[in-house]
Symmetry: C2
Subunit: 140 residues, 2 copies
């Protein structure tokens, strides 16, 4: 798909069957115009990060094959890796049954998907014992 | 952790360093009191589903070792598999850098994590060619 395709997304069908069993891609953006995107490593399979896309970020992701997101804190579109170089090349893009979440399988250019410099944003596990819960750093 | 632990979650620190590099688990629930949970198959590694938890669902998930969620449409807590039998046994629970998303690795009891009867909710891939985008069913 060329970057000047002017791709736009049709409104979701009111029919649950069409939404769940159809072949029309009608992403369900939330009240802020955003849809969540789960990003996993196409090689290792683990979850790298979770971020939001607006329609423009989703369009650019599809058109360029590189993941774009929308920052809720900065209120702006961003291309992942634009400054860090850690670009996410999209290998596969899926949506779920009711089309309100995306799963983006990527090939990470560079080492770190997380802004902390770590491979994945999920570097701490929730550990519970007796009546205490805390985070524990995972090494992988 | 016993089911009568009365586990509660402390408010997130205003310090970014503490939030990102600390060991205190302070989940950042959104304005609706919810936090997103990415559910993956502890065996196969793929994403099974994405749903939301409120503090009560998260507490029950930690205490019982079985995934609980909060349904935004039904406005109620639900234990996954309560009616279908497809219970999700939690193998590992992680959070991300800024603690506003959870990653739940589960062992699926039964065949289907999706209410459509499929193993995963992500059974359609977004395919783009020329200037058309559509969904394609994946078989795996």
């Amino acid at each position: 798909m060329s970057p000047d395709s002017n791709l736009s997304f049709a409104a979701p069908s009111a029919s649950k069957a069409e939404l769940e069993e159809g072949t029309a891609f009608t992403p369900r953006f939330d009240e802020h115009g955003l849809i969540g995107a789960i990003v996993t490593d196409a090689q290792g399979g683990g979850v790298l990060m979770f971020a939001f896309m607006n329609a423009e970020a989703l369009r650019l992701t599809i058109e360029t094959g590189e993941a774009h997101f929308y920052s809720r804190s900065r209120k702006s579109l961003w291309k992942k890796g634009e400054t860090s170089g850690n670009v996410l090349r999209v290998r596969e893009l899926l949506t779920d049954c009711d089309q309100d979440v995306l799963w983006v399988k990527v090939e990470l250019q560079g080492e770190a998907a997380c802004h902390t410099g770590r491979h994945s944003c999920f570097y701490r596990r929730v550990e519970a014992d007796a009546d205490r819960v805390a985070l524990e750093f995972v090494t992988r």
